[in-house]
């Protein structure tokens, strides 16, 4: 018996000593001599037994035999899945990268930048040159406004034409069969000059 039990509990066992005795199964000699402590030990033992029964019942009520069987099936199914070799499906881009020959020459990113800059400069210069050539001064007389009145009496229409183009057209066309028609048709140049003369 511990000294503290002798002093504070008039020689009776502490609750801790009783618990230790019950759980370890080592019965202290004091219990044989003291009826009070023996009764306390019996009460505590019963209470612990009840507690154990209630605890086990609670767990078993939550997990019926069917539920345990289902759980076991699920465990074994998961194990089966784990044992199956994993199928790795390669991502298409990755697969293409994987097939690349390591000896393949690759263009360094720096060169790509240089090429892009050179292209830009060439484009600008070429554009400038083309613009200069295209905008060479061409002597074009002021567009003549001709109000041609047609024979069928339709309302007049204003036609803007460039004289050189018209001359070119007139010189280029020389069809003998249309000479008669051509003869009675007033020449555009004549009409224009007459108007300008007014």
């Amino acid at each position: 018996m511990r000294l503290i039990d002798g002093l504070l509990r008039r020689g009776h066992l502490s609750e801790r000593a009783l618990v230790d005795a019950l759980l370890s199964g080592e019965r202290p000699a004091h219990l044989d001599r003291c009826d009070i402590c023996a009764d306390r030990a019996v009460d505590l033992g019963r209470w612990l037994d009840d507690l154990k029964t209630a605890g086990i019942e609670a767990a078993d009520a939550a997990f019926s035999t069917e539920r345990l069987a289902m759980q076991q099936t699920q465990i074994l199914r998961r194990l089966e899945q784990l044992d199956q070799p994993a199928r790795v499906i390669a991502f298409p881009t990755q697969a293409r990268l994987g097939q690349r020959d390591p000896n393949d020459r690759r263009v360094a990113p720096a060169w790509l930048g240089v090429a892009a800059a050179a292209g830009l400069v060439l484009g600008l210069v070429g554009g400038q040159v083309t613009a200069r050539i295209g905008s060479r001064p061409v002597v074009v007389p002021a567009p003549a406004t001709v109000q041609a009145l047609l024979d069928d009496g339709q309302p007049s229409s204003t036609v803007r034409l460039a004289q050189p183009d018209l001359d070119l057209d007139l010189e280029g066309l020389n069809i003998p069969a249309l000479d008669a028609v051509d003869g009675i048709t007033p020449k555009f140049t004549t009409v224009a000059l007459t108007r300008v003369g007014r």
Binding site: D20, I56, A58, Q71, L79
Partner: protein
């Protein structure tokens, strides 16, 4: 010849043999045979594992998942199993660590989520409580249900370690040394936790019983 019969094998020895067999079969690539042998271990330890997880987590669905995960994890790491240590202790340690992780995750989750389902009386209950059960008479069922409810409420008020130690020591009947190996706690710490758990449970259940009998008296007087 009857003299040639092998001596009866204890549960621990049987477990160790099964675990070693699973390890060897798995290493040899005979996976189906390994799984079949492992199923024996699952059958032997499932009920015990479920009780531990249920009392530790106080939730049937969580306990179900924790037990499944523990068995799967033990199978995956069967290569690290050492024969000197009983399979039961090794496996229980895996289970307890898994339960501990779940408790931590639950605590984090509970900061954000609403509480679990409540019954018609507004009392919080686990989904397992709503499952139909078979067995004794309705009166017995009510009484045992009441007793379980009281115990559950008292157990849930214990600190986690006290609850775990009490459960392993008392419900599972493990010695302080075994509990120490399972939990990683010192043997003397195990004994302290156990004693404190019992003292607190007694106080909680006594006050609960006193409170209930008091309220019954009050309600009778009112009638």
């Amino acid at each position: 010849m009857s003299g040639d019969q092998p001596p009866p094998v204890s549960a621990k020895e049987a477990d160790a043999r099964a675990a070693v067999d699973v390890k060897a079969l798995h290493a040899a690539g005979r996976l189906e045979a390994a799984r079949e042998r492992y199923a024996e271990l699952v059958t032997r330890h499932q009920r015990r594992a479920v009780r531990i997880a249920f009392h530790y987590l106080r939730d049937a669905a969580d306990a179900d998942e924790a037990v499944q995960d523990a068995f799967v994890k033990a199978y995956l790491h069967i290569g690290t199993f050492r024969e000197e240590l009983p399979f039961e202790v090794w496996f229980t340690r895996i289970l307890i660590n898994g339960c501990l992780d779940r408790l931590k995750a639950r605590r984090r989750r509970e900061k954000w989520l609403a509480p679990a389902t409540t019954d018609a009386m507004g009392v919080e209950r686990s989904p397992a409580d709503f499952l139909p059960s078979r067995g004794p008479s309705p009166e017995d069922q009510v009484l045992s249900e009441e007793r379980r409810r009281q115990l559950g409420a008292a157990l849930s008020q214990l600190p986690e370690r006290q609850r775990l130690v009490f459960m392993l020591s008392h419900f599972e009947g493990r010695s302080s040394r075994e509990v120490s190996a399972m939990t990683g706690l010192n043997e003397s710490t195990v004994r302290v936790h156990l004693f404190r758990a019992i003292r607190r449970l007694r106080a909680l259940l006594a006050s609960g019983a006193a409170g209930e009998s008091g309220s019954r008296r009050i309600s009778r007087a009112a009638h």
